[in-house]
Amino acid sequence: MRSLVIEVEGLVKRYGETLAVAGISFTVERGEVFGLLGPNGAGKTTTVECLEGLRVPDSGEIRVLGEPPSPTNYALKARLGIQLQDSAFFPRLTVAETLSTFARFYPQARPVGELLELVALSEKRRSLVKDLSGGQRQRLAVALALVNDPELLILDEPTAGLDPQARHGLWDVIRAMQAEGKTVLLTTHYMEEAEALCGRVAIMDRGEIIALGAPTELIARLFKETAVELELTGKADLDDLSALPGVSRLVPEDDRIVLYTSDVPQTLAALTTRAAQGSLPLRDLIWRRASLEDVYLALTGRRIRE
């Protein structure tokens, strides 16, 4: 059995003049939870749809479970578990009917009761799809992805628009799938989600992969420091701030500055002194361990959610 579940080499996809994916390459191994991370429009969904065979790439090589995906590769589609961004099903079928209808599309299927249990929708089994809340619909979409007991799960923004409790519920489902030995590829623009779930992530920006690796590794590679975020009410002297004790790097934003420091007490002391003297228009200040958010910020100069 091959250990590479997904192989992508030089994938390019254009929509007219727009270059959605600009020649990316990555591989995913069996049993991994792999994250595609980036803001809206970074090319995550296009990449995922090429893997699912819903879109045909302009150039590049793709192998999924050893096969080339295509709109008519039904044998491959039967082995994939797919959750599409805001897709839907017949609004007047019940949750259980929807699952059993989908079960008929595949050679083998998990029992409906088990799926409902897994995504915590058992008490909604008789509700019509149109009467479900956004979070319940999202969980149904994930249950539909699991219906054929797939080898590879491809989830596009599975937790978008969910409240924190529902999101953590879905994290548990994904961890349970990993425990069953399945491979999971998910897209997200929640950095903390990628950090919590993914063994490895590819950070995408404007159709390219700008960083690839384990979250902790990526953070450690770029940051040995702690991040200090300053919220300002006016202009600050940037040269002065970068010269503060311990500060190795500074990223200015509109009304905010992020400092990276190896000596938190010294830097804080210097900052509070300047604020007290009135030379720094400080409204608020937090310090935290560097995260994937900082990796993205450092690489692009932008935040991921804007």
């Binding site: 008519t72 589609k77 897709s87 839907a88 609004p91 079928l93 009917e97 539909l144």
Partner: protein, 359 residues
């Protein structure tokens, strides 16, 4: 096959739970026929235009006078072929042929009167027969008893004497089939596409042919159900007959449904969004409804519209249904209707498969 039946079951549940959709597909044609039928039947009074053939001898003259005294009859005299032509043209309700030799001495046998009637007039011809039976019985009695037995034999012939409702019921059936294609298929597909239901199906290993054939099968069965409801209603409430072969009628209905389902697929593929799609469907619906001769005869339409009339597929479905149901005078021969519908089906099916879009 599992996927095929799964989709049919899903589409059927979806339909049965959609009250508004169900009303438009099943309730609306019923209300349409009832309204139409009652509005136009209110003005019908019992009166018969009777053609009488023969009767130059004294006895026949006496009978003729007796007929003229019956208030509900208007008697026209003429030669047999003339009067039968009038009957076929719908200007007579019946033609009575008085046999020769009525004035001859009775031989003790039976004398047969032939009454030609319009086959489509189920209730009308019954009333006319019984009126004439009564006139003959009185005449027999006056002529002095049982020497002579006068017998009335009814001969139904195919005439063009339609009541408006005979024209309307096949028309409503044709309209229903057309709207099933436009709204039951095209609008339905647009809504599934807009909600990204089609997209999700596409991601599953369901070949396009399975999805398309499941919806076609389900919708054609629905067309047959609609047909059964409309025909039963027409027959039970308004005595609209089915004169032709039921098997041919079934065939015409299936062919028509397939052609308009294919049209629905094609139109859904053309429309970009659901909103623009619905406007587009109405723009197809209205000319079809009013220019295909399904509610009034094609002859009523001005000459400059005729090319449009002949271009619309609904013209041929309406004509084929009317021919098989009430044996109306054909616009074109039935086989030509079927060939044109089959041609539309073939072309639309190819276009629909070529341009079908999941998203």
């Amino acid at each position: 096959m599992k996927a095929f039946w799964g989709l049919i079951a899903a589409e059927t549940r979806e339909l049965l739970r959609d009250r508004a959709g169900l009303f438009w597909m099943l309730g609306f044609p019923v209300i349409f026929i009832l309204l139409f039928g009652f509005v136009f039947s209110g003005s019908e009074e019992v009166h018969f235009e009777l053609g009488v053939v023969g009767g130059s001898d004294p006895a026949s003259q006496g009978l003729l006078e007796a007929l003229k005294r019956v208030p509900v009859l208007t008697v026209h005299q003429g030669r047999e072929e003339e009067e039968l032509a009038e009957l076929r043209a719908g200007r007579r309700d019946g033609v009575l042929v008085i046999p020769a030799g009525l004035s001859d001495p009775p031989g003790g046998g039976r004398t047969e009167f032939v009454l030609y009637v319009d086959a489509t007039q189920l209730t009308g011809r019954e009333v006319l027969s019984s009126v004439l039976d009564q006139v003959l019985a009185e005449f027999e009695a006056q002529a002095g008893g049982p020497q002579r037995r006068l017998v009335l034999t009814e001969k139904p012939i195919q005439a063009r004497n339609f009541r408006p409702i005979d024209f309307t019921v096949p028309g409503v059936l044709a309209m229903t089939v057309m709207q099933l294609g436009l709204f039951g298929v095209a609008a339905h597909l647009l809504s599934l596409r807009e909600r990204k239901v089609l997209r999700r199906l596409w991601a599953a290993p369901v070949p396009r042919t399975v999805f398309v054939s499941a919806l076609i099968t389900q919708r054609v069965l629905l067309a047959l159900l609609q047909g059964a409801i409309i025909l039963t209603l027409g027959h039970v409430v308004f005595s609209v007959p089915i004169l032709g072969s039921r098997l041919v009628l079934l065939g015409v209905l299936v062919l028509g449904a397939l052609a308009f389902v294919a049209l629905g697929y094609f139109l859904a593929a053309l429309a970009r969004t659901q909103e623009s799609g619905i406007a587009f469907l109405q723009a197809v619906n209205f000319p079809m409804m009013f220019l295909s001769g399904i509610f009034w005869p094609v002859e009523w339409m001005p000459g400059f519209l005729r090319p449009v009339v002949w271009a619309l597929p609904l013209t041929y479905l309406g004509d084929a249904l009317r021919q098989t149901m009430v044996q109306a005078t054909p616009l074109v021969p039935l086989w030509l209707d079927l060939v044109v519908l089959g041609g539309w089906l073939a072309v639309l099916a190819i276009l629909a498969v070529r341009f079908f879009r999941w998203e």
